[in-house]
C-alpha cells in the first residue's frame, strides 16, 4: 500500500514491521508479555496517520479512541529517533513537538518506513522555513510598484501646487 508514494499527503497505515518491533518489545517482559502485546496489537491495527495541507492527524484505539492533530506551522521541534532493533527493521520514530506544556511529544509517528520523507515534509512546512524562492520576487515586485505610485503621486501634488501658484495672483 505504501510503496512508491511520491507525496506524503494522504492517509498512512503503519508498516507490518511495527508489529514485529512491538512483539520483540513485549517479549522483554518475559512471561507477562501478553499484557503489552495485546494493547500494542490493537494499536497497530487501528493506527492511522493523515497528512493534509495544513497539518497532521493521528488516531488509534479500539475501546478508547484517541485522535491527535496539529498544524505544521505550530511545530517547534522534530525529533527523529531510532534504536538498533528499529534500524534493522527499517523503522524510525518521528516525534513532533509544539509549544504546549507537556514533556512528551504531541504527535509521535512510528512504524513508517518513509520516516525520513515524513521528517523532511514536516520540516519544509515549519515556521521559519522559506518557501521556494519563486514566490519572493513577486513580493519584491509589489514593493517596487508602490514606489512608482508614490513618485507619480509626488508629481501630481507638485503639479497641483504649480496650478495653485499660477492662480493666486489673478484670484
Amino acid at each position: 500500500m505504501n510503496d512508491e508514494r511520491t507525496s506524503i499527503l494522504g492517509t498512512w497505515r503503519p508498516d507490518s514491521n511495527l508489529m514485529k518491533y512491538y512483539t520483540l518489545e513485549s517479549l522483554l517482559l518475559g512471561p507477562f508479555f501478553p499484557f503489552l502485546l495485546l494493547p500494542r496489537f490493537l494499536r497497530v491495527r487501528t493506527l492511522r496517520y493523515v497528512f493534509d495541507e495544513e497539518g497532521v492527524r493521528m488516531s488509534w484505539g479500539v475501546l478508547f479512541r484517541r485522535e491527535a492533530s496539529l498544524t505544521y506551522e505550530r511545530i517547534q521541534d522534530i525529533h527523529l529517533t531510532s534504536n538498533l532493533v528499529q534500524r534493522h527493521l527499517g523503522l524510525g520514530t518521528v516525534q513532533i513537538q509544539t509549544a504546549s506544556g507537556t514533556a512528551n511529544a504531541e504527535v509521535t509517528i512510528e512504524g513508517l518506513k518513509e520516516f525520513e520523507q515524513v521528517r523532511d515534509h514536516l520540516y519544509s512546512r515549519m515556521r521559519g522555513v522559506t518557501s521556494p524562492p519563486k514566490e519572493v520576487p513577486t513580493a519584491r515586485h509589489g514593493t517596487g510598484e508602490i514606489a512608482a505610485l508614490l513618485r507619480e503621486l509626488t508629481a501630481e501634488i507638485a503639479a497641483l501646487r504649480r496650478d495653485l501658484a499660477e492662480r493666486e495672483p489673478s484670484g
Binding site: 527523529l80 538498533l84 534500524r87 521559519g128 514566490e135 513577486t138 509589489g142 497641483l160
Partner: protein
C-alpha cells in the same frame, strides 16, 4: 573495524542535511578537544568501577573457606540444600566464589574495552548543522537521535562551560525552543543521548560557541514574531498580499489627488 561496527549498527557516518537552502548550512563535529574531554571523563568512572570491583574481591576473598558472615552462611546453606536435594550435585563453595569473581573481572574488562573503544566512534557520530534557517543536532550510536528546529523558533540560548571544559577550551551551547515539560538533565555533561527535554538542543564541546550563538542571534534579529505559530509577515505569500493591498491603496490615493487637481483647474 569502524566501518564494520557502523554497518552492524546500521548507522551512517555522515548525517542528512535538511532540505532547502543547503549552501548556508555549516555541518561540523564537536571539537577534537571534546573527544579528549570525554576520554578524561571516562577514566574516573572506570577507576571508580575498578575500586568497587577490588573492594568486593577483597571482601569475598577474606571469607574464603570459612564463611563467617551469618547472612551469607545462611544463603550458601540454602543454596547447598536446594542443589543437593533437587539436582543431586555437591556444591563446592570455593568453586562458586571463583566463578563469581572471574565473571565480575571479565565483565569489568569487557565493558572497559567496549565503552573506551566506542568513545571515538560516538564522537565521530555527533554532528551539528547550523544554517540560516535550521539547526539540526544528530547524535547516538545505539540510540540514534536527530533533532531539527528552525532558527525562527529558538527562544533563548545558554553557553555553559565547566572547569575541565575550560581547560580544554570548549563549551556547550544550549538552545531552547518554546514549550515546557520536566525531564531536563541540567547536569548531564556526559554527552550521551539521554532523553532529556525535547525542547532543548545541546551543541556540546565546541570551541566557537559564542560565534554560533552570534550567528543565530543575528538571524533572530531579522525575524519578527515570538517564535510561536505563524507570523503572517514571515510568510512570503502573505507578504505578497500585503504588497498588493499597498499598491491598491496607492492607486486610490493617486486617483483622488488627480481628481482634486482637475476640480481646481475647472474653477
Amino acid at each position: 573495524m569502524k566501518q564494520r561496527v557502523l554497518k552492524l549498527l546500521r548507522v551512517s557516518e555522515r548525517p542528512q542535511l535538511p532540505p532547502g537552502d543547503r549552501a548556508s548550512i555549516d555541518c561540523f563535529r564537536a571539537s577534537r578537544a571534546h573527544l579528549r574531554y570525554s576520554v578524561l571523563m571516562w577514566v574516573p568512572k572506570q577507576i571508580l568501577a575498578l575500586g568497587a570491583l577490588l573492594a568486593s574481591l577483597a571482601f569475598f576473598g577474606g571469607l574464603d573457606p570459612p564463611v563467617e558472615m551469618a547472612g551469607l552462611d545462611r544463603v550458601f546453606e540454602v543454596v547447598e540444600r536446594i542443589e543437593i536435594k533437587l539436582l543431586n550435585i555437591p556444591v563446592d563453595l570455593e568453586w562458586l566464589l571463583v566463578t563469581g569473581e572471574s565473571i565480575a573481572i571479565t565483565a569489568f574488562l569487557v565493558q572497559g574495552v567496549f565503552t573506551g573503544a566506542l568513545l571515538k566512534i560516538r564522537w565521530e557520530l555527533r554532528w551539528y548543522m547550523v544554517g540560516d534557517e535550521v539547526l539540526r543536532i544528530r547524535e547516538g550510536l545505539w540510540h540514534l537521535r536527530e533533532q531539527t528546529m528552525t532558527i525562527a523558533n529558538i527562544q533563548n540560548m545558554i553557553i555553559r562551560q565547566g572547569p575541565v571544559q575550560r581547560f580544554f577550551g570548549i563549551s556547550d551551547l544550549i538552545v531552547h525552543t518554546a514549550g515546557g515539560g520536566a525531564g531536563e538533565d541540567a547536569n548531564d555533561a556526559s554527552g550521551t543521548a539521554g532523553k532529556g527535554n525535547l525542547h532543548t538542543g545541546h551543541i556540546r564541546g565546541v570551541t566557537n560557541a559564542s560565534e554560533i550563538q552570534e550567528r543565530i542571534q543575528s538571524r533572530l534579529r531579522q525575524l519578527r514574531g515570538a517564535g510561536l505559530g505563524n507570523d503572517a509577515r514571515d510568510n512570503p505569500r502573505q507578504a505578497e498580499a500585503f504588497a498588493m493591498a499597498d499598491a491598491e491603496a496607492g492607486a486610490a490615493l493617486l486617483a483622488e489627488v488627480r481628481g482634486l487637481r482637475v476640480d481646481l483647474a475647472d474653477r
